[in-house]
Symmetry: C2
Subunit: 393 residues, 2 copies
């Protein structure tokens, strides 16, 4: 029988990666399309020991219902780490634990967006955020991302025309572009937003995965009352436990709490306890250093292979962190077309169009380097080079 | 600074239990307000062994990102159990794993409701559903619940006036009333809905917690293409792992999948694996039998204490399952006022008003019996009897 679905379902984009899953799952395909961390870097034994400890010493409470805001020792750990790493004063009560940071985006949409509200995102922007916000039917506006962050002139101009509920951005090692905002850009964005009612939503999934240079201040430093930060253990500990968090001014967190409770009561208690125990018993900095060392080597290898295999008029970002490279072909080339040729060569990526709400981005593509071995990078980039030469030649 | 929140936040009711948490957390208070299963019945050791097995044998995949629909062996177990228990033919692809069944309600709201759409719920209705659906700003309509289910005359009449997207109900041991729909009511509801575009959302959180008599057919039996079922391991295994599921016709599940991905990508992988391993290695039926035996005894004890302590003109349901009794005081008595007196006696419950969207229910209250020891039931009902006598005398 025909079903009637809510109108929001018609405007919510599907996952590109899901659409090509049947193809990329073939064992002969090398996929740079996903956004997975390398499972060989998971601290499996340490997390097993943490799970064992929790089940032995706090089994009943780990298995019972709990509070919506999440486990206090975990929120305290996160608050302390903000203090240490970024000199941010965050109270544990200004933090709420979520099912991965993707859920933060859903809760932000729920709490802040009425249908038709203007929202600002980067161009290119994170597909998951576009999906999450789309469910609340906003009017998307975009700001171009350069090598050191958003175009602030465009930002001021778009904001003047479309007073947005918030500007959503990924200042550290952005997905998909790999761009990190310079400190000057951060200050300039804060100056522009300060005079408006627009909040800044800082998605910081990759801030701790920094290969070069040192961490730059959070926008919260410059805009304390107007910055919502979303964080995640997915890239630094494990994504399978779906542990993220949102940090925001108390008044916003209270609304997020109401929305979270209505959405799923609270996050997995056992997982919160396991992560907490793991963090108490292990050296997270040392673990992150291992991940960073490995990902830096993969980035460098992929860049050097691209230098050898791709035509010279192709540009590529050199991200200071994260998991992605952003490759731009010469004008007139379509990565949507390229993908078909690439799949014939058994290699996959995500075409740039998936990261644009306005149909742009067709000359660009996103390549993931975190979940590919050395051999896969060498072979995969070689195959992709062949596909590009077939496209342009 | 003043923040601007989405209008949906103004109409979403807060959790009553959260509001009185500070009071009920005092150690001297006996609380019948919550809806917690008894933690002494959790299979802690068996779940610990399951966690240990999963981390030892499938650590990397349990910690990695996974599919939105959830772990296939778990969906297969659920499908097989529908076949066994209720003779329902459900394909694993018609099941999607959620963060507890509360998330099913959020996803159903997302996928089916535009603002202003009419929605039908029971009177009294489950507060968590009212909260979840409120975020999608529907127009609530209600149908009175009698001792054997909804008033079908009222159902037909309300539906005629307000063609609703769906009718949400809890046919087995309803929360808050404890009522189980008779088979005749189930057939009558199906007959009424068959001629409309209204779906039936069957919340079956308590179906396996049946103390008396045998399971009645799901509405799916009578309305196969129009019934969405939500299920949960919270009451039969553990709520802390937040494991629920939604079962619906394929076309609806596809939309739910898009909404789930945008909302939080997928459910906790480790938890899905732990539950699956637990179910493979243990006798769920025997475990449920233990829970049922214990809860039946608690129900009977609470009913007998009520018989001794409460004035004779007070009525109380005798639920065939679940976790709650529904007590109705004589006309003119207010359980909102009673709660103040009860808290002075150090005993708590949820006043009936929390379960009404129209301000009704003030003579009723919900009492939870699953999470109270014998001693707490005896003492708590005695205290509540005193408070009632102070109110009516």
């Amino acid at each position: 029988m025909p079903y009637h679905f809510a109108s929001r379902m018609q405007t919510t984009p599907r996952s590109f990666i899901r659409d090509i899953l049947k193809t990329t799952e073939r064992p002969e395909v090398i996929s740079f399309a996903g956004g997975l961390p390398s499972p060989s870097l998971f601290a499996v034994e340490e997390l097993r020991a943490a799970a064992e400890y929790v089940m032995k010493h706090a089994g009943e409470s780990a298995l019972q219902y709990s509070t919506t805001e999440g486990y206090l020792p975990l929120r305290t750990f996160i608050a302390d780490r903000y203090k240490e790493r970024l000199s941010l004063s965050v109270d544990p009560d200004e933090i709420l634990i979520t099912n991965g940071s993707q859920q933060c985006l859903d809760l932000i949409g729920k709490v802040l967006l009425d249908a038709g509200d203007p929202v600002l995102i980067e161009r290119p922007g994170y597909l998951g955020a576009i999906q999450a916000f789309s469910l609340y039917e906003p009017e998307f506006h975009t700001v171009a991302l350069g090598n050191d962050g958003p175009d602030t002139e465009e930002l001021a101009s778009v904001l003047g025309k479309h007073p947005s509920r918030f500007f959503y951005g990924v200042p550290n090692a952005q997905n998909p572009s790999g761009v990190t905002y310079s400190d000057a850009k951060r200050r300039a964005i804060a100056d522009i937003l300060a005079g408006t009612e627009t909040l800044f939503v800082e998605d910081d999934a990759y801030g701790e995965l920094r290969f070069d240079g040192k961490s730059l201040p959070s926008l919260r430093t410059y805009l304390p009352e107007k910055t919502i930060i979303t964080g995640s253990f997915s890239k630094i500990v494990t994504p399978g436990l779906r542990m993220g968090w949102i940090s925001a001014p108390r008044e916003i967190i209270e609304q997020v709490n109401v929305a979270k409770q209505a959405s799923d009561l609270h996050s997995n208690v056992l997982a919160q306890r396991i992560i907490t125990r793991y963090l108490e018993e292990n050296d997270l900095d040392a673990h992150i250093e291992r991940i960073v060392g490995e990902y830096r080597a993969r980035r460098d290898l992929m860049l050097s292979c691209i230098g050898e295999s791709f035509p010279a008029d192709i540009s590529v970002t050199k991200p200071e962190g994260g998991m992605f490279l952003w490759v731009t072909l010469p004008d007139g080339c379509s990565t949507t077309t390229l993908l078909e040729l690439a799949l014939c060569e058994n290699v996959a990526f995500v075409p740039g169009r998936a990261f644009y709400v306005d149909g742009g981005g067709d000359t660009a593509m996103r390549l993931n380097f975190s979940n590919a071995s050395e051999a896969m990078i060498v072979e995969g980039i070689d195959r992709l080079g062949k596909a590009i030469r077939r496209l342009v030649g």
